[in-house]
């Protein structure tokens, strides 16, 4: 665990402890289960976002994709009679295709990720609304999918399946990002694409894969959300979720410049954001202040982290300056060679 993650974990414990002291209902099984469920739901697409952010990209269409894939999923199983496992696979495939398109536009066409995915945000929202003629997609009377409901929104021993799915996916994502060659390439491309290219890394493939992973995971999240709300208003379903995901990633130590961050950090970021939401409810703070509280905490967190890393850099530089004196780059090699030679000759 990085120092950054440790700090975040401590913050979560402190905030949680304070809330629990003021309002003991925080620790009631019902509240814990509900919060865990929300952590699971929001965590899935926050991890998705992290894969793109680490490549120095951004994915703004997450919320719209959740709406679009949600209405497609419900339409397939309710109106088209497609078996739900097949519908699940179709939804993930559509997510993958959209991700590939984003990735190719970013790499091959050299468009900025912000622009590409902003257009995605608008397009998919519009398509989702058109798909249902702006009507709510939901389950009419008599439609029941007991297995699907159990798998996606059920509980085992009081633990919501959404957070179990989140835990499993987070574990896999941690392994992929921090232990595999592909993960190393993600960081290398995000930190310095030029050097990564010189190192023989297929930068295009790596970036496209990041967008594909992102929207496939978003597809999983879309199914969980669809079954959680059970009816989807395509005009509002998933609004602002991309910003939520970015916030969680940034809190978790991901730099929007790429190449930095850890999955443990995003997981903790998601947990903190949900506890903050919960805190607003439990402490009787007007719920209209919800976003304001979230924004303030993120800002303070990022500021503190920023100051801390400045301090660390200064200390490191001071240490370097005292131990090594680096040659200025502007002085040419030839000069160095001659000076050195003279010195070598005078010594012999």
């Amino acid at each position: 665990m990085h120092k950054k993650d440790l700090g975040l974990a401590v913050l979560i414990l402190v905030v949680g402890g304070v809330v629990a002291l003021i309002n003991p209902r925080f620790l009631s099984p019902i509240n814990l289960a509900n919060t865990a469920n929300l952590i699971g739901l929001f965590g899935l697409f926050s991890i998705a976002e992290a894969f793109v952010i680490v490549t120095a990209g951004i994915e703004l269409s997450v919320g719209s994709v959740i709406a679009l894939l949600g209405v497609i999923f419900i339409d397939l199983i309710v109106n088209q009679g497609v078996p739900w496992p097949l519908a699940f696979v179709i939804v993930l495939a559509v997510g993958g295709v959209l991700g590939a398109i984003h990735g190719l536009l970013v790499t091959k066409m050299r468009l900025q990720p912000f622009v590409v995915t902003l257009c995605g945000l608008l397009i998919y929202r519009g398509v989702a609304r058109f798909y249902t003629a702006d009507a709510t997609a939901g389950f009419s009377f008599g439609h029941s999918f007991p297995t699907l409901e159990w798998v996606v929104s059920g509980r085992s021993g009081g633990v919501p399946h959404s957070i179990i799915a989140f835990a499993v996916i987070a574990a896999i994502a941690w392994y992929v990002m921090h232990r595999t060659v592909f993960g190393r390439h993600l960081f290398a491309v995000g930190k310095n694409e030029e050097a990564a290219r010189f190192a023989g890394i297929n930068t295009t493939g790596t970036i496209v894969a990041a967008y594909v992973i992102c929207l496939v995971l978003t597809g999983i999240s879309a199914v969980f959300f669809g079954m959680y709300t059970r009816s989807i208003h395509p005009a509002s379903h998933g609004n602002f979720y991309e910003l939520y995901a970015i916030a969680a990633a940034v809190l978790g130590g991901f730099s929007l410049r790429g190449g930095e961050g850890s999955i443990v950090g995003v997981v903790l970021g998601v947990i903190l954001l949900q506890i903050l939401q919960n805190l607003v409810n439990l402490l009787g703070i007007p719920s209209s202040l919800n976003f304001a509280v979230m924004g303030s905490v993120i800002l303070i967190g990022v500021l503190a982290d920023n100051q801390f890393s400045h301090y660390r850099d200064r200390r490191r530089q001071a240490k370097m300056a005292s131990s090594l004196s680096e040659r200025p780059e502007s002085v040419s090699a030839m000069n160095l060679g001659l000076q050195g030679k003279r010195r070598a000759e005078s010594q012999t």
Binding site: Y175, R179, T180, V181, F182, R184, H185, F187, A188, K191, N192, E194, A195, A196, R197, F198, A199, G200, I201, N202, G259, E260, R316, M320, L324, S325, E326, R327, P328, E329, S330, V331, S332, A333, M334, N335, L336, G337, L338, Q339, G340, K341, R343, A344
Partner: protein, 497 residues
């Protein structure tokens, strides 16, 4: 324009830790005079220019401008005294028009809201453009100007601040012959208007054509001055070299064996019309010399697949190499140690061990998972083999000195065991001890049969280390010198084209 302007530098010295960049250098120039400043790469020309421009304060020496004695200048003072630069690297604001570029920071405004007076700006700029016979107007977009026209724009900018001394640093390096001739005409025009011109160029024929006097720098010192009538190519080259090249380097005889890399008729984006041909043999160190901007780095990048090849083909180990694919080049056994160590060679924030492992990850992993013990093993082996001085291989590469960083870059590439290694300025900015180690590593590799293409602007290094030297000029190989014919004079003659 003012006349009677004089500026003289005397006894200028500037030292950096361990290096003396300028040692007791003097230079004088007056209005209406064109002085050529020549010297090899690294002779101290750039440092001297920076002293004139005020961006470097000399350790010792005096600057006398119009009889007033100063110990150093600030950039603002230099500008106020009419010293203007036309840089080799042009950085115009391509998002602005011609007049806005020329008057940048001195815009003409009117009204209470300081609205730009575009007509007044155009009126101010037009006479200068007329004087230069510029083929563009004040309202034209700079993005549409050619390189030569951008050069004129820089000169116009210099004149707009009423420059009395214009310093031109390699102004013709990216111009065609006819553009060069026009520029030289403009320089003559400046002279006739009483402006002093300090003309820095590697192109000795240009110096011959226009300079009234020539000052030669060598190893940070005055190597001499040539007066009218003495300015001849052979004298200039003689003064630029001016020293015996004792063999300081260990070099082994090399019998040519089979070729590893063949570059056949290759054109890069920098020189689309050029056709470069070059063969690197197994076990040799082939030096690639040339002036800055001759297209050497571009050729290396194209061979390695970073940039596309516009014409021709690359043969690696007897088989044609898929163009524009670094992955294919590495698979074929080619590696490139890039010139820009910090931007291209390393991930500075990553640990030393991560950096070394990066190109070798497939070998260091099992089923896609990085085996950290193998990674650390490689890092420790590299530390011993290259003598990397670091407290821990887990520390970020940014903490290392330049020389140790370069060892990490070499270690990173040698871990993939290439059969052809391209090194671009392998010892730039690193200290002598590290240099010797880099040479030792290159020689050891060549002994094991690796073909090495070494791009270097350090003459002594090129001659000392290489078995053969190819010389490049304007995107083409103008000659290959074998070991017994390696002289600085021979290389310079091929390099200036």
């Amino acid at each position: 324009m003012s006349s009677g302007f004089t500026i003289s530098l005397s006894g200028i010295s500037k030292a950096y830790p361990g290096v003396v960049a300028l040692d007791d250098v003097s230079l004088a120039i007056s209005g209406g005079e064109i002085v050529g400043l020549i010297g090899e790469n690294g002779a101290g020309k750039s440092t001297l220019m920076k002293v004139l421009g005020g961006s470097i304060a000399p350790d010792r020496g005096t600057i006398v401008i119009d009889g007033e004695s100063l110990s150093s200048l600030t950039p603002a003072e230099a500008m106020a005294r009419g010293i203007a630069f036309v840089h080799q690297e042009l950085n115009p604001f391509t998002n602005l028009d011609v007049a806005a570029n020329i008057l940048l920071g001195r815009e003409i405004a009117r009204g209470p809201f300081r609205a730009l007076d575009r007509r007044a700006m155009a009126r101010t700029v037009q006479p200068i453009l007329d004087m230069l016979a510029a083929p563009f107007g004040p309202d034209d977009a700079v993005a549409d100007l050619s390189l030569a026209e951008q050069q004129l724009l820089e000169i116009a900018r210099a004149l707009s601040i009423d420059a009395r001394l214009v310093i031109m640093d390699e102004p013709t390096s990216s111009l065609t012959l006819s553009e060069t001739n026009r520029l030289l005409g403009v320089v003559g025009e400046l002279k006739s208007r009483g402006v002093a011109v300090l003309f820095i160029s590697h192109r000795l024929n240009e110096i011959e054509a226009i300079a009234d006097r020539v000052t030669v720098l060598r190893d940070g010192r005055n190597a001499g001055e040539l007066l009218p009538g003495e300015i001849r190519r052979d004298r200039m080259i003689g003064m630029m070299i001016g020293r015996d090249l004792d063999r300081f380097y260990e070099k082994r005889a090399h019998g040519r064996q089979e070729p590893v890399l063949e570059i056949r008729g290759v054109a890069t984006r920098a020189f689309p019309e050029a056709r470069a041909n070059l063969t690197v043999y197994k076990g040799e160190i082939l030096g690639l010399a040339g002036l800055v901007g001759a297209g050497r780095t571009e050729l290396a990048r194209a061979a390695f697949g970073i940039d596309p090849i516009l014409h021709g083909e690359i043969i690696l180990g007897g088989a044609p190499l898929k163009p524009n694919s670094v992955v294919a080049a590495i698979k074929g056994g080619m590696c490139l140690v890039p010139e820009d160590r910090k931007g291209q060679g390393l991930h500075l924030d990553f640990s030393i061990s991560d950096n070394i492992a990066l190109p070798s990850l497939p070998r260091l992993s099992r089923a896609g998972t990085v085996v950290s013990s193998r990674e650390l093993e490689l890092a420790e082996a590299s530390r011993r083999r290259f003598g990397i001085r670091a407290t821990s291989m887990r520390n970020p590469a940014a903490e290392l000195s330049g020389g140790n960083q370069q060892k990490v870059v070499l270690a990173k590439w040698l871990a993939v065991e290439p059969r052809l290694l391209i090194v671009d300025e392998p010892t730039r900015g690193i200290d002598v001890g590290a240099k010797a180690e880099v040479y030792r590593v290159l020689q050891a590799l060549a002994d094991r049969g690796v073909g090495i293409l070494m791009i270097s602007s350090d003459m002594e290094e090129v001659i000392g280390v290489s078995n053969r030297v190819a010389v490049m000029c304007r995107g083409e190989i103008t000659g290959v010198l074998s070991s017994d014919k390696l002289t600085e004079l021979g290389i310079l003659n091929l390099a200036v084209g």
